[in-house]
Symmetry: C2
Subunit: 351 residues, 2 copies
């Protein structure tokens, strides 16, 4: 029996992909690439053979609990943890970590967002296996650093100290610093310096390491979850969580732990990762036709149409003539037509 | 009691307005202007006060019989005549004329397409009343000639002999000739000559006049409908019609009668008429916003969008950014986005 656990964080609301992604069905629950699997299902698929189903945990909003159980029926229902309100990643990770600790004090964990994509699954699995091996025998907090291919301003960066590869894994380095989303000039400098990686929000650690880190750096967050040790896995768990959760500080795990802790490592990796944070990145990750159109839907015809992303439900028949560089997205009772270069305004449109 | 009758020809399939207009629900049965009434309902409305409900007749395909009865419940069910197959306007008019004759030999009739629009209802009613008065007391075949405001190549033209106004109505003239859809140069010449009018397909005549004209000029068409005189209005009518209809020649009333008969007159008129034969004409006839967009739907938002026609079902939320000169049409399971200037290709797209 393995002590490997996977935590899928699935509480996001994905408002940038409106109208496909809505509060009622955010991006992670959508087959956004049109491949027959939703993003959370693809996330699950990536860990096949590494983490057994009974060790998979999903933390999500209470609103999405049923959707998780429908889309991942193999995950035990009691492993789907429901947040009564959104409190960023630190409380989410604290909750699930204590919950796992209550069941398996020797657990070794990967934490992953539910709504990212990875192209090279083999390389992803190799890196994850090596990372779990690395944290199994140490108190290390390990992050994955995506090798950047452009001066992206939409991601945070991890600065690595490449002079000190770990003796136990020559691909792992100490982290010098975490950097917030940079401006273009700064991003270009990062790329040139060659020791900056995108922070993908994928973390690997043993449960005792992360629980101790919370105790040391965030006692106000760790206390309520420590107090609940007797009720985890019982009928009282949800009610008890509902009582304390709103009072926990809303803060990211990056701020709460990673930027404060000492033993932080990064495993640089390149496995075709994207957080699918923009329509542009979705366009890039999707299969495209000869005219650079990403057509996601069963029945889409285009004429004189280039560089578009057209996304609609399976039943919909769509005919598009004469568009260049547009998003056409249709979902339920909503239709969006918008220039790709104006996609940052979609959040406003959707309000 | 009046002898005025109205025949609404409602058998068209309106394929140019796909996807709103489909074989299952053609244009005349759609609220295409977004005003709360379908085109056939607006056609009915235009004759209020001129023709009583019991004298209104609709000829349509058997497929659309129920739709007619739903949309015009005040028209007696037995006045909805069903064609078992499409045979152009001459057989349609012959059928309904004999049917009316069987009930009211002194009937005076207006024949009107179901899917046109008229802006100035008062002027329309004045012209129709004068026209019915004109044909009541004569054997004249009267057509309405729309005063043209542009060298349109999509309509047939009526050449009038303006030297000989009728003594009984100084607005009515003899027809010199009917002309088919012209090329641009010819259309321009027509406009300059000032005695050419668009043929709107609206005819006024007494039932004895049109029945006699069929007997004289189209005995092969008139014979089967004459033979059915004993069954009109009985249970056997539909079956009898179904037996003979397919064998009747498919030909327009223009070819079959108007171009052959002697006593043909035209009443030039200007009441803001359009056959709504193109998206362009629909755009022109619809209420437009400051940016020359015709927005037909309850919940349409536009940004940097000009000269577009956006037509969707009431429930649909639509956001359009950055389009100029496009048709966006959404109906049931189909979405069309197409440049207005390419609208003639829509028929191809829909196949």
């Amino acid at each position: 029996m393995t002590n490997n656990h996977l935590v899928i964080m699935a509480g996001g609301v994905g408002s940038r992909f409106w109208p496909m992604s809505t509060q009622d069905r955010p991006k992670q629950f959508i087959d956004i690439l049109g491949c027959g699997r939703t993003l959370i299902q693809m996330t699950y698929d990536r860990f096949k053979g590494i983490v057994p189903d009974e060790n998979i945990w999903v933390v999500t909003s209470e609103k999405y609990g049923e959707m998780v159980k429908e889309q991942l029926p193999m995950v035990p229902a009691e492993n789907v943890l429901l947040e009564p309100c959104r409190r960023n990643t630190a409380p989410c990770i604290a909750y699930v970590s204590w919950r796992i600790k209550a069941k398996d004090p020797h657990a070794n964990m990967v934490v992953s967002p539910a709504d990212h994509v990875v192209l090279d699954i083999n390389e992803f699995q190799r890196v994850i296996r090596a990372s779990l091996e690395f944290t199994e025998q140490s108190d290390a907090i390990l992050t994955l650093g995506m090798k950047p291919n452009r001066p992206e301003t939409g991601y945070g960066y991890i600065q690595a100290d490449l002079s000190t590869a770990s003796a136990r894994n020559r691909e792992v380095y100490r982290v010098d610093s975490f950097r917030e989303k940079p401006d273009v000039a700064t991003a270009k400098r990062y790329i040139q310096q060659n020791n900056y990686y995108w922070n993908a929000g994928i973390f690997i650690w043993s449960v005792s390491t992360i629980v101790n880190a919370f105790r040391v750096y965030q006692p106000a967050i760790s206390d309520p979850f420590e107090d609940l040790l007797p009720v985890y896995g019982t009928e009282k768990e949800q009610e008890a969580i509902n009582k304390v959760y709103a009072d926990v500080q809303s803060i990211s795990v990056d701020y709460a732990i990673l930027e404060k802790a000492e033993e932080i490592f990064v495993h640089p990796a390149g496995f075709g990762w994207s957080d699918l944070g923009t329509w542009g990145s979705l366009h890039e990750r999707s299969r495209r036709d000869l005219y650079n159109n990403a057509l996601i839907g069963e029945n889409i015809q285009t004429y004189e149409t280039n560089n578009c992303i057209i996304h609609c439900t399976e039943e919909k028949r769509v005919v598009v003539q004469g568009l260049d560089g547009y998003i056409v997205a249709e979902q339920d009772d909503t239709l969006l037509i918008c220039k790709l270069e104006e996609e940052q305004r979609i959040r406003t449109f959707s309000e």
